[in-house]
Point group: C2
Chain length 180, copies 2
């Protein structure tokens, strides 16, 4: 009887410890501005919590099957390197391509008196390039990741890398800084 | 004779004081990161020295006679108000519309295997809206200015204001914040 009681106490205690442990981990993850595993992208890359505050590198419109309008943002290290023309980009550089569906704006067209205005609709996804010349040596020193609604998508970094090879001379970065 | 000499001394002294005064003013203006008068836009608005570092509100493409691709940036106050949905925008808000000519990218098209990519070419101009509900009461609480290559263009704020009137309910701001 005593033995059964001790066993029961141990089991209950183990469950309590387990539940509390999971709760604490979740709280800690939330404090760090990170959700649990779905936010860890390919190559262990997470969506930086403040990437939406980063300065603008440039803008673009991809027609065709993308049909998006996009902004390329960079962390401080990226922007400094861009402005200095520093190549290769230093380790720690992160470049974010943020995109939205490309939609006409009736409201703007009315003001201009003709159909000419296209704006950002619903967000599509966010793609990151993270520079770490050792960690990502196999893909030109860049890690690649993609997030949709904040959740990581499966990405084939080797495929990303092969598309970026034509601009190897610019450290695999297509987008040039747009001065104003 | 003495009187003519004194007059000459006074005239020379006045010229020296004048020249030194102008030089000092120019030096002071340069120290403040401001050129002389050409950088003061309509309504006394200057191009904020770090506007290019501001966070992104959204992006757009204006076809037609504009034929540009543009980014709308906001100072910290603007971005905070946008994210909170705060209307009207508080005094001190500055919103910058930065635009570049809309050009196809042969380099990108080659990678995608078809003509679909449009990027930022040469900068066109930068337009600012500066919120000061008292100073700019006559134009809905917003001052309007435009800069080309860093130099202020003449702007008819009343004309700007009349075009922005249709979005009075959004405090005269067309562009909505693009979450990602």
């Amino acid at each position: 009887m005593a033995s059964a009681f001790v066993k029961r106490v141990v089991v209950v205690a183990a469950i309590v410890v387990g539940v509390v442990g999971v709760m604490m981990t979740t709280v800690a993850a939330k404090r760090n501005g990170q959700a649990a595993s779905p936010s860890v992208g390919s190559a262990g890359i997470r969506l930086p919590p403040r990437y939406r505050d980063w300065a603008l590198v440039s803008v673009a419109h991809e027609a065709g099957s993308f049909n998006d309008i996009r902004a390329i943002l960079g962390n401080d290290m990226a922007i400094r390197a861009y402005r200095k023309g520093q190549l290769p980009f230093p380790d720690g550089t992160i470049i974010a391509r943020v995109a939205w569906s490309y939609v006409p704006s009736e409201e703007n067209d009315k003001v201009f008196g003709k159909a000419q205005s296209f704006i950002a609709g619903a967000p599509t996804n966010v793609q990151l390039m993270v520079k770490d010349s050792k960690k990502y040596a196999a893909t030109g020193g860049w890690g690649y990741a993609q997030f949709t609604k904040g959740k990581a998508d499966a990405v084939d970094a080797a495929k990303c890398y092969s598309c970026h090879e034509p601009v190897k001379a610019r450290d695999f970065i297509f987008t040039k800084y747009a001065p104003s």
